[in-house]
Symmetry: C2
Subunit: 223 residues, 2 copies
């Protein structure tokens, strides 16, 4: 019944990860109801650990628990989404600044490898999305601040369903890739402010990109 790798994870934590994956991947859409009994049956456990997992997800901001009325996948208003991207942009810019100062040989290697992986799949949206995620994570790690890296990773995950939609826009992948290139060059040169300055608008959703995002949001809401 237990998977083998349950090394240091409680059941509730495993369940949280599973449900979290379903939310991040878009299998569970914002606003969708999370019935305790249904989930319990699906994972072959009782409601107790399911409830514990839901409480965790509520703290992570991925679900909303309305007392006595059940849990739903959290849905973000356009305003809040904008705010979250604004913070994400700043966190990633901070990663750049720190990474430029603290970059070690292994970090540099990992960055280059991640970048080349992006290049290899730049004609496949979905594959690029995953490679892109890895590239950004390589920068988080290179910051040398594990707490910052964790926070960035958390927010990245929370924005995943929305960020994914963004890359669908025409030419976005191409632009994304060339921005990566400039960021990478700046990091290698130790130009932290330069890298941060490119990263900020790379992440932040502004102007027409914001309109595009809202448009896809409405599509999502209609489903």
């Amino acid at each position: 019944m237990m998977s083998d790798d349950a090394s240091a994870l409680s059941t509730a934590q495993r369940l949280r990860q599973e449900i979290e994956n379903d939310i991040a991947s878009g299998h569970l859409v914002p606003g969708e109801r999370l019935d305790e009994v249904t989930l319990a049956n699906r994972f072959h456990v009782s409601r107790t650990p399911i409830r514990e997992a839901l409480q965790q997800l509520a703290m992570a901001g991925m679900v909303e628990i309305r007392p006595r009325r059940g849990a739903v996948v959290a849905s973000l208003t356009p305003e809040r989404l904008y705010e979250m991207f604004e913070v994400m942009a700043e966190l990633e810019a901070m990663c750049c600044r720190l990474a430029a100062r603290r970059l070690g040989p292994s970090d540099a290697l990992a960055l280059e490898r991640a970048h080349r992986a992006c290049e290899a799949v730049r004609h496949d949206h979905d594959a690029y999305y995953r490679a892109n995620e890895m590239f950004h994570q390589a920068i988080y790690a290179a910051s040398g601040n594990t707490f910052l890296a964790e926070q960035a990773r958390l927010l990245q995950r929370r924005l995943q369903p929305y960020r994914r939609l963004q890359l669908r826009v025409r030419n976005r992948v191409q632009n994304s890739f060339s921005e990566h290139e400039r960021i990478l060059a700046a990091l290698m040169a130790g130009e932290g402010e330069e890298a941060a300055g490119i990263m900020r608008p790379h992440v932040q959703v502004q102007g027409e990109r914001f309109s595009d995002l809202i448009a896809s949001l409405k599509l999502l809401g209609a489903a």
Copy 2:
């Protein structure tokens, strides 16, 4: 719109807040064991909602749950503490930048009031600590980014037990207050970068202040 209204709180959430307060206030010290039965008795509930509250606290990073071995108040290593202060400094700097751009009349009023409240109690460490907290929160709110404000508030709370110790250092309150003054002036003048530049070292724990913090940490650990 989504303010933490007490009317819509589940029991588990209320319990989380109570325990959280005990941790933030130092009533529960890092490393201390959190026995489910003891807590259940204390709050006159069963273990079920207590466990849910503990899961929430684990996600918030305030307690650590070791499977089958119970929950303890999370204790931070000096390295991690340094990292968290580094991120906190950047979040608050970001608040400054945004606040300077977006400052409304009511925000300005709240800021000045909070600053005067600090002045009034600057000879009482504990009172100053609370007033100081309010001043910083006024800046978070003035950023106009509610998500950022929430994140900053969260991290502030998490660092509270350690931040509190810091003000004990000789002259720190006096320095803190004059830094506030300069930050306030910069914000009022719309000089976001200026305000951010003062805020960063105001928050970050570096050099001898870091050593001081580690020293108090050891004292805490000895207790």
